[in-house]
């Protein structure tokens, strides 16, 4: 670098000021502080009603299902509450054409979505633990079930965030919920005990790999949405 180049760079920086961007973590923290849980999950009774319904059904199915079907139940049931809550709050967020105003505010709809899915995912792990606990027969069985359930949950979280980051895809993400419930019910019905045995014989290495890959995908996508690196407003 020549001396004049150097001086030109210094002048440029002094003129512009140093433009520092908030990191994704800073932004997420600020978003949670400003909005709080209430506003983040669609302020209103709708989300609460759906959440209660989904959790109730999950607990009922996990508690009542026959022991020999416990793996199918863990995989099929544990993400349902997550999917229902995520989609209902998303729908509330995008309803009544508030979207345009929201999208021009400091925190965009997509950024709220990113933080919400991460929070829901974290809470979802407890729900899966509950499901696994209700269905398990022993401590070792519990761990295996938990791994399977968390893998299922992280797959759903990754798919949800990939899909719903963009504007016109709410229908698609509602579709995801329907497909998941359909598969959760359909596969055991169609494949019978073969499906159950397949899940039961799945090694923990596979389950952990799925968890890690999907969690990484969620975090990567959330960081992009929060730092607006290319998708900025996700309009």
């Amino acid at each position: 670098m020549t001396l004049s180049d150097r001086q030109a760079s210094i002048d440029y920086i002094l003129e512009k000021g140093l433009l520092t961007r908030d990191s994704a973590l800073d932004k997420a923290r600020m978003l949670i502080r400003r909005l709080g849980l209430r506003l983040m999950f669609g302020d209103g009774p709708l989300v609460i009603v759906f959440a209660a319904l989904a959790l109730g059904i999950t607990a009922l199915v996990a508690g009542c299902a026959p022991v020999e079907w416990r793996h199918s139940v863990a995989v099929g049931c544990s993400p349902i509450a997550f999917l229902v809550i995520a989609n209902v709050s998303e729908a509330v967020d995008r309803a009544s054409r508030v979207y345009d105003i929201r999208q021009t505010c400091y925190f965009t709809v997509a950024q709220v979505t990113a933080v919400r899915v991460m929070c829901l995912g974290a809470v979802g792990v407890f729900v899966t633990a509950l499901v696994a606990g209700l269905a398990a027969t022993s401590a070792g069985d519990f761990l295996h079930l938990l791994l399977l359930a968390v893998a299922a949950l992280s797959m759903c979280a990754a798919a949800q965030l990939m899909i719903v980051g963009r504007r016109h895809r709410l229908a698609l993400s509602v579709g995801l919920t329907v497909v998941w419930v359909g598969l959760g019910l359909g596969l055991p019905l169609v494949l019978g005990l073969f499906w159950e045995q397949l899940l039961a014989s799945l090694s923990w290495v596979v389950a952990v790999t799925v968890c890690v890959v999907c969690a990484a995908l969620v975090v990567w996508r959330a960081i992009r949405m929060l730092t607006e690196s290319r998708y900025h407003a996700f309009a």
């Binding site: 400003r34 506003l39 021009t104």
Partner: protein, 283 residues
């Protein structure tokens, strides 16, 4: 300063705007153009809701898309058909948007109170919005746009649905606000523009047809607008502009390139004349 350079916007193969260059500094800019001319399209690009097909929009030299949140934090926007949560009260709605605009809770509450007072909605602040009239909702929208004390305030047809009193109130508010910020407002209501705008931006055939103070725009028709009570005097190639009732006679106002001072009275052109003349072939 907000500047557009060589902005083009296409929807598929349909070209709405082409090669638009504009600069906004302090003051009120009125976007005045007929339906479908591209006002909302231009505004949506300025608010980063849609992206230009070509060209750049810069805020103090930086692309607004790259500025992202730091641009949005100085932006206030009222959409043309603005949505709201019907079951929320204006106060709840504003506090909610305050949070989304990253205001801390205390500031959001204080500003909500002040703004509701400013737009004259203190009395219905806690009523559900589905019980409010159209004009009241519009005022909630105006208040909402001011929550973050924006440096760039963009309003898409803000006076639609306001009664005369509120309209005057709104004009005064805008005049006051424009002291230290950019206000961009789209409208078809010529009388609003004449009183508040420092600059009138007119769009025609996807390009900027005029970008001047109102008085200067009117000067384009200086000496070419006439009034007569004899409608027979208005014939091709004269352009009939408006007609009004004066007692029992109908006074016709028309434009003519040729000198008609023997047939009719020459009058001062106003913005409405210019508007009708500029878009004469787009009936």
């Amino acid at each position: 300063m907000l500047s557009l350079s060589n902005i083009t916007k296409k929807y598929g193969s349909f070209r709405v705007l082409e090669g638009v260059d504009l600069e906004f500094t302090r003051g009120v800019y009125a976007l005045l153009a007929p339906n479908g001319a591209g006002k909302t399209t231009l505004i949506k690009m300025l608010t980063t809701l849609i992206h230009p097909s070509g060209g750049q929009i810069l805020w103090n030299g930086d692309d607004i898309v790259h500025l992202g949140a730091s641009y949005r934090s100085i932006l206030g926007y009222l959409p043309q058909d603005f949505g709201y949560y019907k079951n929320q009260s204006p106060r709840k709605f504003l506090e909610y948007l305050g949070a989304v605009k990253a205001l801390d809770r205390r500031t959001a509450i204080i500003r909500t109170d002040r703004l509701l007072d400013l737009v004259g909605l203190s009395e219905v602040a806690d009523k559900k919005m589905r019980k409010l009239s159209g004009g009241m909702i519009q005022r909630v929208g105006i208040a909402q746009a001011l929550l973050n004390e924006p440096k760039v305030l963009i309003l898409d047809e803000p006076t639609a649905g306001l009664d005369p009193q509120q309209r005057v109130h709104f004009r005064n508010l805008i005049a006051r606000l424009s002291q230290d910020r950019i206000v961009i407002c789209s409208t078809h209501i010529v009388s609003d523009v004449e009183t508040i705008a420092n600059h009138v931006v007119m769009i025609k055939d996807g390009a900027i047809w005029a970008n001047d103070p109102p008085a200067q725009i009117c000067r384009r028709l200086e000496g070419k607008v006439y009034e007569t009570s004899d409608i027979q005097a208005v014939y091709e190639p004269h352009l009939l502009l408006t007609q009004r009732q004066d007692g029992t006679t109908t006074v016709s106002r028309f434009f003519s390139e040729a000198d008609c001072s023997l047939l009719a009275t020459r009058v001062e052109p106003n913005l409405e004349d210019v508007f009708l003349w500029a878009y004469r072939d787009q009936a």
